[in-house]
């Protein structure tokens, strides 16, 4: 049986990569706090595989083919295509874990979920910034789970939580003796290409953190279904966090760092979920 050895979250603003060397030392040091803590926890967990959940930023999918969830079941995936990522991220390919990816897809289908699958995905900044800044260089094999968090219609909060439980079951029933960590990439509030671009909804972020810490699902469902539309289009990435939350058993989490960072337009959050 595989073991779930840790569940984490980290933000992934593109400007973290694009402008890293141009930030003031205080901005760099501030951003590094969360990434360093997530990196230390991940390394301590010593995962053989990271199951990473993130949205696709119009790299793999377009309006002609836009799955709500796509599981990477290939032995290898392509690294980030964005020029600003290629400058800083040294891996043109990332190793996958075909066995766990396929088992997750099969478990999903057996449980009446209908994900898309891909034998080769391109993992954009959403996947690679947390791996890079957390110091997972090179990263262990990745099972990418792409969740549509960019173009409506999107998964409900409740369905994200169900996906989290499904992922936990799939890890628990995977027959190989491996250590698996989950990394949810994205969030918290931010707005891209909208009139509110640059605004960070600190009140939303703080209430989100309080709810994730408290753990109970129904208050989360009630709050986020009502408030997500006001958290900027980037706020929808908190869906990755819902999935992680339920995968960890909805017991609450430890906030590793939160800070609104106007230089990257994002309320940057970093967390480690309680497992027991």
């Amino acid at each position: 049986m595989a073991d779930l050895v840790g569940v984490f979250a980290a933000s992934h603003a593109p400007l973290v990569a694009r402008d890293w060397d141009n930030f003031s030392p205080s901005v760099r040091e501030g951003l590094a706090v969360g990434y360093d803590k997530v990196g230390a926890r991940l390394k301590a967990a010593a995962p053989d595989v990271i199951l990473e959940i993130a949205t696709d930023h119009w790299v793999n999918f377009f309006l002609d083919n836009l799955p709500s969830v796509c599981i990477g079941i290939g032995a290898e995936n392509d690294g980030p295509p964005e020029p600003f990522m290629r400058r800083v991220y040294p891996y043109p390919t990332l190793i996958g874990h075909a066995g766990l990816g396929r088992h997750l897809a099969e478990t999903a289908l057996a449980d009446d979920f209908e994900p898309a699958v891909s034998h080769r995905l391109t993992l954009d900044h959403g996947f690679c910034i947390p791996l890079w800044r957390a110091g997972l260089t090179p990263p262990p094999p990745i099972v990418p789970v792409l969740v549509n968090e960019i173009e409506p219609p999107m998964l409900s909060v409740r369905r994200c939580l169900e996906w989290g439980r499904l992922i936990a079951r799939a890890i628990d029933t995977y027959p190989e003796n491996i250590r698996v960590a989950i990394l949810a990439s994205g969030g918290l509030s931010h707005s891209i290409g909208e009139p509110s671009m640059g605004a960070i909804e600190v009140e939303f972020d703080e209430e989100s953190i309080r709810l994730f810490d408290a753990g109970a699902e129904q208050p989360m469902i009630d709050y986020f279904e009502a408030k997500l539309p006001g958290a900027g289009n980037g706020g929808h990435e908190v869906r990755s966090w819902f999935i992680a939350h339920a995968a960890a058993g909805s017991r609450g989490f430890e906030l590793l760092d939160y800070r609104p960072v106007p230089e990257v337009y994002v309320g940057c959050g970093f967390a480690s979920w309680r497992m027991e």
């Binding site: 930023h57 119009w58 377009f62 309006l63 295509p81 020029p83 960019i150 891209i192 290409g193 909208e194």
Partner: protein
């Protein structure tokens, strides 16, 4: 306002550096491959955000203005000048 598939497709396809180079060199030839109406074609000439923004995903809009080398402060100022109901056109 309904999503404009072909305008979205243009903005999506322009992620390809080769197409971006072609677009800069001969915009008309590239645009001829997309089913764009006259209002959109005029808006692309002038980066008229009031016409473009309601028709596409906001991330694709962001990409387009980045390719067009419009700096963020100017882009954000344009976004903030949009009417509150711009999505309903």
């Amino acid at each position: 306002m309904a999503t404009d598939y072909w305008l979205s497709k243009l903005m999506y396809d322009l992620q390809d550096p080769a197409l971006r180079a072609a677009y800069r060199a001969d915009r008309a030839t590239v645009l001829a491959k997309y089913k764009l109406d006259d209002a959109v074609l005029r808006a692309l000439e002038t980066h008229d955000i009031a016409v473009l923004a309601p028709r596409v995903n906001a991330y694709l809009l962001r990409f387009y203005y980045q390719y067009s080398e419009v700096k963020d402060p100017e882009f954000i100022a344009g976004l903030r000048a949009l009417p509150k109901d711009y999505l309903n056109g």
